[in-house]
Protein backbone atom coordinates (compact mmCIF):
# COMPACT_ATOMS: atom_id res chain seq x y z
CA UNK A 1 0.00 0.00 0.00
CA UNK A 2 2.74 2.41 0.88
CA UNK A 3 5.25 3.67 -1.63
CA UNK A 4 3.43 2.37 -4.69
CA UNK A 5 2.43 4.49 -7.68
CA UNK A 6 -1.08 5.93 -7.64
CA UNK A 7 -3.24 4.18 -10.22
CA UNK A 8 -5.93 5.97 -12.14
CA UNK A 9 -7.91 9.14 -11.48
CA UNK A 10 -9.58 7.85 -8.34
CA UNK A 11 -6.30 7.37 -6.51
CA UNK A 12 -5.49 11.00 -7.18
CA UNK A 13 -8.74 12.21 -5.70
CA UNK A 14 -7.31 13.14 -2.26
CA UNK A 15 -4.81 15.40 -3.98
CA UNK A 16 -7.41 17.33 -5.96
CA UNK A 17 -8.67 19.59 -3.17
CA UNK A 18 -5.27 20.63 -1.71
CA UNK A 19 -3.89 21.16 -5.20
CA UNK A 20 -6.86 23.28 -6.17
CA UNK A 21 -6.74 25.37 -3.00
CA UNK A 22 -3.02 26.04 -3.27
CA UNK A 23 -3.28 26.79 -6.98
CA UNK A 24 -6.20 29.20 -6.66
CA UNK A 25 -5.22 30.93 -3.45
CA UNK A 26 -1.45 30.87 -3.60
CA UNK A 27 -0.12 30.45 -7.13
CA UNK A 28 -2.69 32.70 -8.78
CA UNK A 29 -2.27 35.53 -6.23
CA UNK A 30 1.47 35.27 -6.66
CA UNK A 31 1.16 35.32 -10.44
CA UNK A 32 -1.18 38.29 -10.24
CA UNK A 33 1.27 40.20 -8.11
CA UNK A 34 4.05 39.40 -10.56
CA UNK A 35 1.83 40.58 -13.43
CA UNK A 36 0.81 43.77 -11.62
CA UNK A 37 4.47 44.65 -11.17
CA UNK A 38 4.63 45.14 -14.96
CA UNK A 39 1.35 47.04 -15.20
CA UNK A 40 0.97 50.71 -15.85
CA UNK A 41 -0.01 52.87 -12.95
CA UNK A 42 -2.97 55.24 -13.34
CA UNK A 43 -2.04 58.25 -11.24
CA UNK A 44 -4.49 58.84 -8.42
CA UNK A 45 -6.09 55.45 -8.66
CA UNK A 46 -5.56 52.00 -9.97
CA UNK A 47 -3.55 50.43 -12.74
CA UNK A 48 -4.16 49.31 -16.29
CA UNK A 49 -2.76 46.08 -17.72
CA UNK A 50 0.38 46.47 -19.73
CA UNK A 51 3.93 45.33 -19.92
CA UNK A 52 6.56 47.84 -18.96
CA UNK A 53 9.62 47.93 -16.78
CA UNK A 54 8.86 51.42 -15.45
CA UNK A 55 8.09 50.16 -11.96
CA UNK A 56 11.35 48.29 -11.74
CA UNK A 57 13.26 51.28 -13.10
CA UNK A 58 11.56 53.45 -10.49
CA UNK A 59 13.00 51.23 -7.77
CA UNK A 60 16.37 52.78 -8.44
CA UNK A 61 16.08 55.49 -5.80
CA UNK A 62 18.14 56.40 -2.78
CA UNK A 63 15.22 55.69 -0.44
CA UNK A 64 14.64 52.19 -1.77
CA UNK A 65 18.33 51.34 -1.79
CA UNK A 66 18.88 52.63 1.71
CA UNK A 67 15.80 50.84 3.05
CA UNK A 68 16.83 47.59 1.39
CA UNK A 69 20.34 47.81 2.81
CA UNK A 70 19.04 48.73 6.23
CA UNK A 71 16.58 45.79 6.20
CA UNK A 72 19.37 43.40 5.27
CA UNK A 73 21.71 44.90 7.83
CA UNK A 74 19.28 44.78 10.73
CA UNK A 75 18.11 41.26 9.82
CA UNK A 76 21.68 40.02 9.52
CA UNK A 77 22.70 41.59 12.80
CA UNK A 78 19.73 40.25 14.73
CA UNK A 79 20.12 36.80 13.16
CA UNK A 80 23.77 36.79 14.26
CA UNK A 81 22.82 37.80 17.81
CA UNK A 82 20.00 35.25 17.96
CA UNK A 83 22.06 32.36 16.63
CA UNK A 84 25.05 33.06 18.86
CA UNK A 85 22.83 33.23 21.96
CA UNK A 86 20.37 30.61 20.77
CA UNK A 87 22.91 27.94 19.92
CA UNK A 88 24.34 27.39 23.43
CA UNK A 89 20.86 27.91 24.87
CA UNK A 90 19.35 25.20 22.65
CA UNK A 91 22.25 22.91 23.40
CA UNK A 92 21.65 23.24 27.15
CA UNK A 93 17.92 22.65 26.69
CA UNK A 94 18.44 19.48 24.68
CA UNK A 95 20.67 18.06 27.41
CA UNK A 96 17.93 18.44 30.03
CA UNK A 97 15.45 15.77 31.03
CA UNK A 98 12.53 15.39 28.66
CA UNK A 99 10.05 16.74 31.20
CA UNK A 100 12.08 19.90 31.82
CA UNK A 101 12.49 20.30 28.07
CA UNK A 102 8.72 20.31 27.64
CA UNK A 103 8.33 23.17 30.12
CA UNK A 104 10.95 25.25 28.30
CA UNK A 105 9.42 24.43 24.94
CA UNK A 106 5.92 25.41 26.05
CA UNK A 107 7.33 28.71 27.28
CA UNK A 108 9.27 29.32 24.06
CA UNK A 109 6.29 28.44 21.87
CA UNK A 110 4.15 30.88 23.83
CA UNK A 111 6.66 33.69 23.35
CA UNK A 112 7.03 32.74 19.69
CA UNK A 113 3.33 32.97 19.04
CA UNK A 114 3.17 36.54 20.34
CA UNK A 115 2.20 39.06 17.75
CA UNK A 116 4.77 41.63 16.68
CA UNK A 117 2.41 44.29 17.93
CA UNK A 118 2.34 42.81 21.43
CA UNK A 119 6.12 42.45 21.50
CA UNK A 120 6.50 46.02 20.27
CA UNK A 121 4.06 47.25 22.88
CA UNK A 122 5.80 45.26 25.65
CA UNK A 123 9.25 46.59 24.76
CA UNK A 124 7.99 50.13 24.37
CA UNK A 125 6.65 49.83 27.92
CA UNK A 126 9.87 48.28 29.19
CA UNK A 127 11.91 51.10 27.70
CA UNK A 128 9.47 53.86 28.54
CA UNK A 129 9.88 56.61 31.08
CA UNK A 130 6.88 55.77 33.26
CA UNK A 131 6.95 51.99 33.36
CA UNK A 132 10.41 51.09 32.16
CA UNK A 133 13.66 49.66 33.39
CA UNK A 134 15.05 53.13 34.00
CA UNK A 135 12.66 53.43 36.98
CA UNK A 136 14.30 50.37 38.46
CA UNK A 137 17.74 51.92 37.99
CA UNK A 138 16.58 55.16 39.61
CA UNK A 139 15.19 53.18 42.52
CA UNK A 140 18.50 51.37 42.86
CA UNK A 141 20.24 54.73 42.84
CA UNK A 142 22.11 54.09 39.60
CA UNK A 143 20.39 56.86 37.67
CA UNK A 144 19.23 60.37 38.46
CA UNK A 145 15.97 60.41 36.54
CA UNK A 146 13.90 57.89 34.62
CA UNK A 147 14.17 58.33 30.87
CA UNK A 148 12.72 56.86 27.70
CA UNK A 149 15.04 54.57 25.74
CA UNK A 150 12.91 54.29 22.67
CA UNK A 151 12.44 54.93 19.76
CA UNK A 152 15.91 54.13 18.56
CA UNK A 153 18.07 51.55 16.90
CA UNK A 154 18.96 49.67 20.10
CA UNK A 155 15.29 49.37 21.07
CA UNK A 156 14.50 48.03 17.60
CA UNK A 157 17.30 45.49 17.79
CA UNK A 158 16.12 44.30 21.21
CA UNK A 159 12.59 43.90 19.91
CA UNK A 160 13.62 41.98 16.80
CA UNK A 161 15.91 39.67 18.76
CA UNK A 162 13.11 39.02 21.23
CA UNK A 163 10.82 38.18 18.33
CA UNK A 164 13.31 35.90 16.61
CA UNK A 165 14.97 34.19 19.57
CA UNK A 166 12.31 31.51 20.20
CA UNK A 167 12.19 30.87 16.46
CA UNK A 168 15.96 30.40 16.42
CA UNK A 169 15.76 27.88 19.23
CA UNK A 170 13.05 25.92 17.45
CA UNK A 171 15.04 25.89 14.22
CA UNK A 172 18.15 24.61 16.01
CA UNK A 173 16.30 22.19 18.25
CA UNK A 174 15.92 19.17 15.89
CA UNK A 175 19.57 18.90 14.93
CA UNK A 176 20.92 19.63 18.40
CA UNK A 177 18.60 17.16 20.08
CA UNK A 178 19.86 14.50 17.69
CA UNK A 179 23.49 15.23 18.50
CA UNK A 180 25.12 12.05 19.67
CA UNK A 181 25.92 12.45 23.40
CA UNK A 182 28.95 10.20 22.94
CA UNK A 183 30.65 12.98 20.97
CA UNK A 184 31.10 15.52 23.79
CA UNK A 185 31.78 12.69 26.22
CA UNK A 186 34.60 11.37 24.10
CA UNK A 187 36.08 14.85 23.82
CA UNK A 188 36.03 15.29 27.58
CA UNK A 189 37.49 11.86 28.21
CA UNK A 190 40.34 12.87 25.97
CA UNK A 191 40.97 15.82 28.26
CA UNK A 192 39.21 18.80 26.66
CA UNK A 193 37.47 21.21 29.04
CA UNK A 194 33.67 21.55 28.71
CA UNK A 195 34.07 25.03 27.20
CA UNK A 196 36.62 23.80 24.70
CA UNK A 197 34.46 20.78 23.89
CA UNK A 198 31.56 23.09 23.21
CA UNK A 199 33.46 25.31 20.80
CA UNK A 200 35.44 22.67 18.95
CA UNK A 201 33.35 19.50 18.97
CA UNK A 202 29.77 20.71 19.23
CA UNK A 203 29.96 23.91 17.22
CA UNK A 204 32.21 22.14 14.73
CA UNK A 205 29.95 19.20 14.11
CA UNK A 206 26.90 21.45 13.89
CA UNK A 207 28.25 23.94 11.39
CA UNK A 208 25.68 23.12 8.72
CA UNK A 209 22.85 23.41 11.22
CA UNK A 210 24.19 26.78 12.34
CA UNK A 211 24.34 28.13 8.79
CA UNK A 212 20.86 26.83 8.05
CA UNK A 213 19.52 28.41 11.25
CA UNK A 214 21.19 31.70 10.41
CA UNK A 215 19.51 31.72 7.00
CA UNK A 216 16.09 30.86 8.41
CA UNK A 217 16.30 33.50 11.13
CA UNK A 218 17.64 36.03 8.67
CA UNK A 219 14.69 35.57 6.32
CA UNK A 220 12.31 35.56 9.29
CA UNK A 221 13.61 38.89 10.56
CA UNK A 222 13.69 40.40 7.06
CA UNK A 223 9.91 40.37 7.31
CA UNK A 224 9.53 42.56 10.41
CA UNK A 225 6.89 45.14 9.80
CA UNK A 226 5.43 46.51 13.00
CA UNK A 227 8.50 46.64 15.26
CA UNK A 228 10.31 49.29 13.17
CA UNK A 229 7.20 51.47 13.36
CA UNK A 230 6.78 51.03 17.11
CA UNK A 231 10.36 50.88 18.38
CA UNK A 232 12.28 52.64 15.62
CA UNK A 233 12.38 56.06 14.02
CA UNK A 234 11.29 56.60 10.41
CA UNK A 235 14.86 56.08 9.25
CA UNK A 236 14.70 52.58 10.77
CA UNK A 237 11.73 51.53 8.66
CA UNK A 238 12.23 48.33 6.75
CA UNK A 239 11.28 47.27 3.26
CA UNK A 240 8.07 45.65 4.55
CA UNK A 241 6.93 49.05 5.81
CA UNK A 242 7.84 50.70 2.51
CA UNK A 243 5.98 48.08 0.46
CA UNK A 244 2.86 48.33 2.61
CA UNK A 245 3.01 52.11 2.44
CA UNK A 246 3.12 52.02 -1.37
CA UNK A 247 0.30 49.48 -1.59
CA UNK A 248 -2.11 50.90 0.97
CA UNK A 249 -1.39 54.60 1.44
CA UNK A 250 0.01 55.61 -1.94
CA UNK A 251 -2.35 53.15 -3.73
CA UNK A 252 0.51 52.38 -6.07
CA UNK A 253 0.08 48.65 -6.47
CA UNK A 254 2.44 48.25 -9.45
CA UNK A 255 5.23 49.89 -7.49
CA UNK A 256 4.53 47.83 -4.37
CA UNK A 257 4.38 44.64 -6.44
CA UNK A 258 7.69 45.33 -8.16
CA UNK A 259 9.26 46.04 -4.76
CA UNK A 260 7.88 42.77 -3.40
CA UNK A 261 9.14 40.75 -6.38
CA UNK A 262 12.54 42.39 -6.10
CA UNK A 263 12.54 41.76 -2.35
CA UNK A 264 11.75 38.10 -2.95
CA UNK A 265 14.66 37.69 -5.35
CA UNK A 266 17.03 39.46 -2.99
CA UNK A 267 15.98 37.17 -0.11
CA UNK A 268 16.34 34.05 -2.24
CA UNK A 269 19.72 35.25 -3.50
CA UNK A 270 20.97 35.93 0.01
CA UNK A 271 19.78 32.52 1.15
CA UNK A 272 21.59 30.84 -1.75
CA UNK A 273 24.71 32.87 -1.07
CA UNK A 274 24.80 32.04 2.63
CA UNK A 275 24.25 28.36 1.88
CA UNK A 276 27.10 28.43 -0.62
CA UNK A 277 29.44 30.07 1.89
CA UNK A 278 28.46 27.47 4.49
CA UNK A 279 29.22 24.65 2.09
CA UNK A 280 32.46 26.18 0.91
CA UNK A 281 33.88 26.37 4.40
CA UNK A 282 33.36 22.70 5.00
CA UNK A 283 35.82 21.59 2.33
Amino acid sequence: MIGEKPKGVRAHLPLAYPALMLAIFFIIPFGMMAAVSFFHRQPGGFYIPGFEFTNYKNLYTALFGRTLLFSIFVAGLSAAVCVSLGFPFTYFITRMRRRTQVIWLVFLMSVLSLSEVIIGFAWSLLLSRTAGVSNLLVWLGLMEQPKAWYPGFAALLFGICYLAFPYTVLVLYPSLSRLNPALPEASQTLGASPVRTFFTVIVGSMRNAIVAAFVMVFVFTLGVYLLPQILGRPRHWTLSVLITDQAIYQTNMPMAASMAIFFMFVSLLLVALTMAIGKGKKI
Binding site: M1, F89, V106, V111, S115, V117, L125, R178, T244
Partner: protein, 266 residues
Amino acid sequence: MSKTLRIIFLSLILFLLCGPLIVVSGVSLNAKKRLFFPPEGISLRWYAELLTESSWLIPVQNSLTIAFTSSFIALSIALPLAYFLWRYRVFYAKALFTLGISPFILPPVITALGFLSFWVTIGFYGKMGATMISHAIFFVTLPLVTISLGFESIDREIVEAAQTMGADSRTVFKTVVFPMIRPYMISGLAFAFVLSLNEYIVAYMVSGFTVETLPIKIFNSLRYGYTPVMASVAVVFVLLAVIIFGLIGRFGDLPKLLGALGPEEE
Protein backbone atom coordinates in the same frame (compact mmCIF):
# COMPACT_ATOMS: atom_id res chain seq x y z
CA MET B 1 32.61 26.37 36.97
CA SER B 2 30.98 25.60 33.66
CA LYS B 3 27.81 24.49 35.45
CA THR B 4 27.52 27.84 37.22
CA LEU B 5 28.15 29.57 33.93
CA ARG B 6 25.39 27.56 32.31
CA ILE B 7 22.91 28.40 35.05
CA ILE B 8 23.77 32.10 34.87
CA PHE B 9 23.34 32.05 31.09
CA LEU B 10 20.01 30.23 31.22
CA SER B 11 18.68 32.53 33.96
CA LEU B 12 19.73 35.58 32.00
CA ILE B 13 17.87 34.39 28.91
CA LEU B 14 14.86 33.48 31.01
CA PHE B 15 14.93 36.92 32.59
CA LEU B 16 15.15 38.66 29.22
CA LEU B 17 12.30 36.59 27.82
CA CYS B 18 10.13 37.18 30.89
CA GLY B 19 10.94 40.87 31.42
CA PRO B 20 8.49 42.34 28.91
CA LEU B 21 5.78 39.91 29.99
CA ILE B 22 6.17 40.91 33.65
CA VAL B 23 5.99 44.61 32.87
CA VAL B 24 2.94 44.12 30.67
CA SER B 25 1.11 42.09 33.32
CA GLY B 26 1.97 44.71 35.92
CA VAL B 27 0.73 47.56 33.75
CA SER B 28 -2.54 45.74 33.02
CA LEU B 29 -3.41 45.94 36.72
CA ASN B 30 -3.19 49.72 37.08
CA ALA B 31 -6.20 51.20 38.83
CA LYS B 32 -6.11 54.46 36.85
CA LYS B 33 -5.85 54.92 33.12
CA ARG B 34 -2.10 55.31 33.29
CA LEU B 35 0.70 52.96 32.41
CA PHE B 36 2.79 52.69 35.53
CA PHE B 37 5.10 49.94 36.56
CA PRO B 38 4.93 48.89 39.30
CA PRO B 39 1.14 49.50 38.98
CA GLU B 40 -0.50 52.15 41.13
CA GLY B 41 -3.38 50.41 42.81
CA ILE B 42 -4.59 47.03 41.73
CA SER B 43 -7.72 46.46 39.69
CA LEU B 44 -9.05 44.11 37.08
CA ARG B 45 -11.16 46.77 35.35
CA TRP B 46 -9.14 46.67 32.12
CA TYR B 47 -9.88 42.99 31.75
CA ALA B 48 -13.55 43.74 32.27
CA GLU B 49 -13.37 46.47 29.64
CA LEU B 50 -11.92 44.00 27.18
CA LEU B 51 -15.00 41.84 27.58
CA THR B 52 -17.63 44.55 27.74
CA GLU B 53 -16.54 47.45 25.49
CA SER B 54 -17.73 46.69 21.99
CA SER B 55 -14.69 48.47 20.53
CA TRP B 56 -12.58 45.64 21.98
CA LEU B 57 -15.16 42.87 21.95
CA ILE B 58 -15.70 43.00 18.18
CA PRO B 59 -11.99 42.56 17.35
CA VAL B 60 -11.87 39.71 19.89
CA GLN B 61 -14.76 38.01 18.12
CA ASN B 62 -13.28 38.68 14.67
CA SER B 63 -9.93 37.25 15.67
CA LEU B 64 -11.43 34.14 17.24
CA THR B 65 -13.72 33.49 14.26
CA ILE B 66 -10.91 33.94 11.76
CA ALA B 67 -8.45 31.84 13.73
CA PHE B 68 -10.98 29.05 14.26
CA THR B 69 -12.16 28.86 10.64
CA SER B 70 -8.79 29.34 9.01
CA SER B 71 -7.07 26.72 11.15
CA PHE B 72 -9.72 24.17 10.13
CA ILE B 73 -9.40 25.08 6.44
CA ALA B 74 -5.60 24.77 6.78
CA LEU B 75 -6.07 21.35 8.34
CA SER B 76 -8.44 20.27 5.57
CA ILE B 77 -5.82 21.17 2.96
CA ALA B 78 -2.92 19.64 4.84
CA LEU B 79 -4.46 16.29 5.77
CA PRO B 80 -5.15 14.84 2.29
CA LEU B 81 -1.87 16.25 0.99
CA ALA B 82 0.18 14.71 3.79
CA TYR B 83 -1.72 11.44 3.40
CA PHE B 84 -1.12 11.29 -0.33
CA LEU B 85 2.55 12.12 0.10
CA TRP B 86 2.96 9.38 2.68
CA ARG B 87 1.12 6.78 0.65
CA TYR B 88 2.54 7.50 -2.80
CA ARG B 89 5.94 9.10 -2.93
CA VAL B 90 5.55 10.90 -6.23
CA PHE B 91 7.29 14.06 -7.28
CA TYR B 92 4.18 16.17 -7.88
CA ALA B 93 3.02 15.52 -4.31
CA LYS B 94 6.44 16.65 -3.08
CA ALA B 95 6.19 19.75 -5.25
CA LEU B 96 2.82 20.55 -3.68
CA PHE B 97 4.36 20.04 -0.25
CA THR B 98 7.10 22.55 -1.05
CA LEU B 99 4.42 24.93 -2.28
CA GLY B 100 2.56 24.51 1.00
CA ILE B 101 5.71 25.36 2.97
CA SER B 102 6.71 28.42 0.97
CA PRO B 103 4.24 31.04 2.25
CA PHE B 104 5.75 30.53 5.67
CA ILE B 105 9.35 30.93 4.55
CA LEU B 106 9.14 34.04 2.39
CA PRO B 107 8.92 37.44 4.12
CA PRO B 108 5.19 37.71 4.94
CA VAL B 109 4.75 41.06 3.22
CA ILE B 110 5.27 39.35 -0.16
CA THR B 111 2.52 36.77 0.41
CA ALA B 112 0.30 39.46 1.89
CA LEU B 113 0.67 41.64 -1.19
CA GLY B 114 -0.15 38.66 -3.40
CA PHE B 115 -3.35 38.13 -1.44
CA LEU B 116 -4.17 41.82 -1.69
CA SER B 117 -3.90 41.86 -5.49
CA PHE B 118 -5.92 38.68 -5.71
CA TRP B 119 -8.83 39.74 -3.49
CA VAL B 120 -8.99 43.20 -5.02
CA THR B 121 -9.18 41.69 -8.51
CA ILE B 122 -11.97 39.24 -7.75
CA GLY B 123 -13.83 41.77 -5.63
CA PHE B 124 -13.58 40.20 -2.21
CA TYR B 125 -11.26 42.79 -0.73
CA GLY B 126 -12.31 43.71 2.78
CA LYS B 127 -14.43 40.61 3.42
CA MET B 128 -13.85 38.41 6.43
CA GLY B 129 -13.95 35.29 4.28
CA ALA B 130 -10.96 36.60 2.36
CA THR B 131 -8.96 36.92 5.58
CA MET B 132 -9.98 33.41 6.62
CA ILE B 133 -8.82 31.80 3.38
CA SER B 134 -5.66 33.89 3.27
CA HIS B 135 -4.76 32.83 6.80
CA ALA B 136 -5.54 29.22 5.97
CA ILE B 137 -3.12 29.28 3.05
CA PHE B 138 -0.55 31.31 4.97
CA PHE B 139 -0.51 28.87 7.89
CA VAL B 140 -1.08 25.60 6.00
CA THR B 141 2.61 24.91 6.63
CA LEU B 142 2.00 24.14 10.30
CA PRO B 143 -0.54 21.29 10.04
CA LEU B 144 1.27 20.08 6.93
CA VAL B 145 4.54 19.67 8.80
CA THR B 146 3.05 18.18 11.96
CA ILE B 147 0.76 15.73 10.13
CA SER B 148 3.57 14.61 7.84
CA LEU B 149 5.59 13.96 10.98
CA GLY B 150 2.67 11.91 12.28
CA PHE B 151 2.55 9.80 9.13
CA GLU B 152 6.29 9.26 9.31
CA SER B 153 5.92 7.90 12.84
CA ILE B 154 3.49 5.16 11.79
CA ASP B 155 5.08 1.76 11.82
CA ARG B 156 4.56 0.38 8.32
CA GLU B 157 4.30 -3.17 9.63
CA ILE B 158 1.10 -2.28 11.45
CA VAL B 159 -0.46 -1.09 8.20
CA GLU B 160 0.68 -4.24 6.44
CA ALA B 161 -0.69 -6.40 9.25
CA ALA B 162 -4.09 -4.73 8.91
CA GLN B 163 -4.06 -5.39 5.17
CA THR B 164 -3.05 -9.00 5.63
CA MET B 165 -6.05 -9.41 7.91
CA GLY B 166 -8.19 -8.24 5.01
CA ALA B 167 -8.84 -4.53 5.64
CA ASP B 168 -9.23 -2.38 2.53
CA SER B 169 -7.49 0.98 2.38
CA ARG B 170 -10.52 2.89 3.66
CA THR B 171 -10.77 0.66 6.74
CA VAL B 172 -7.04 0.86 7.30
CA PHE B 173 -7.25 4.63 7.24
CA LYS B 174 -10.22 4.79 9.58
CA THR B 175 -9.10 2.25 12.17
CA VAL B 176 -5.31 2.34 12.07
CA VAL B 177 -3.91 5.46 10.43
CA PHE B 178 -6.38 8.08 11.60
CA PRO B 179 -6.12 7.36 15.35
CA MET B 180 -2.36 7.47 15.11
CA ILE B 181 -2.16 10.85 13.37
CA ARG B 182 -4.95 12.47 15.38
CA PRO B 183 -2.62 13.99 18.03
CA TYR B 184 -0.52 15.48 15.24
CA MET B 185 -3.63 16.92 13.60
CA ILE B 186 -4.66 18.53 16.85
CA SER B 187 -1.28 20.13 17.41
CA GLY B 188 -1.11 21.38 13.82
CA LEU B 189 -4.55 22.87 14.29
CA ALA B 190 -3.51 24.49 17.56
CA PHE B 191 -0.33 26.00 16.06
CA ALA B 192 -2.30 27.45 13.15
CA PHE B 193 -4.98 28.76 15.51
CA VAL B 194 -2.59 30.55 17.85
CA LEU B 195 -0.51 32.04 15.04
CA SER B 196 -3.59 33.22 13.18
CA LEU B 197 -4.78 35.00 16.33
CA ASN B 198 -1.51 36.92 16.40
CA GLU B 199 -1.04 37.57 12.70
CA TYR B 200 -0.98 41.16 11.55
CA ILE B 201 0.19 41.95 8.06
CA VAL B 202 -1.90 39.52 6.01
CA ALA B 203 -5.05 40.39 7.94
CA TYR B 204 -4.25 44.08 7.56
CA MET B 205 -3.62 43.96 3.81
CA VAL B 206 -6.60 41.76 3.00
CA SER B 207 -9.26 43.51 5.06
CA GLY B 208 -7.61 45.68 7.67
CA PHE B 209 -9.98 48.61 7.22
CA THR B 210 -13.22 46.67 7.48
CA VAL B 211 -12.48 43.58 9.58
CA GLU B 212 -10.51 44.67 12.61
CA THR B 213 -8.66 41.80 14.27
CA LEU B 214 -7.09 42.14 17.71
CA PRO B 215 -3.50 42.79 16.54
CA ILE B 216 -4.83 45.44 14.15
CA LYS B 217 -6.92 46.97 16.92
CA ILE B 218 -3.91 47.07 19.27
CA PHE B 219 -1.73 48.71 16.64
CA ASN B 220 -4.42 51.25 15.78
CA SER B 221 -4.84 52.19 19.41
CA LEU B 222 -1.06 52.47 19.88
CA ARG B 223 -1.26 55.48 17.59
CA TYR B 224 -3.92 57.21 19.66
CA GLY B 225 -2.22 56.68 22.98
CA TYR B 226 -1.70 53.76 25.26
CA THR B 227 -4.32 52.34 27.58
CA PRO B 228 -3.95 49.49 30.07
CA VAL B 229 -6.55 47.52 28.06
CA MET B 230 -3.82 46.79 25.54
CA ALA B 231 -1.73 45.27 28.28
CA SER B 232 -4.63 43.12 29.41
CA VAL B 233 -5.14 41.88 25.82
CA ALA B 234 -1.48 40.95 25.69
CA VAL B 235 -1.76 39.05 28.98
CA VAL B 236 -4.81 37.16 27.73
CA PHE B 237 -2.92 36.22 24.55
CA VAL B 238 0.08 34.95 26.47
CA LEU B 239 -2.14 32.93 28.81
CA LEU B 240 -4.08 31.46 25.89
CA ALA B 241 -0.84 30.40 24.20
CA VAL B 242 0.53 28.93 27.44
CA ILE B 243 -2.67 26.94 27.97
CA ILE B 244 -2.82 25.61 24.41
CA PHE B 245 0.86 24.71 24.18
CA GLY B 246 0.80 23.45 27.77
CA LEU B 247 -1.99 21.04 26.85
CA ILE B 248 -0.01 19.85 23.83
CA GLY B 249 3.03 19.40 26.05
CA ARG B 250 0.99 17.56 28.65
CA PHE B 251 -0.89 15.18 26.37
CA GLY B 252 1.35 15.07 23.33
CA ASP B 253 5.01 14.61 22.69
CA LEU B 254 6.13 18.21 22.20
CA PRO B 255 9.88 17.46 21.83
CA LYS B 256 9.04 14.98 19.10
CA LEU B 257 6.66 17.39 17.39
CA LEU B 258 9.43 19.94 17.29
CA GLY B 259 11.87 17.52 15.76
CA ALA B 260 13.59 15.49 18.50
CA LEU B 261 13.89 11.77 17.95
CA GLY B 262 11.61 9.22 19.63
CA PRO B 263 10.87 9.24 23.36
CA GLU B 264 13.73 9.12 25.81
CA GLU B 265 14.27 5.74 27.46
CA GLU B 266 13.83 6.03 31.17
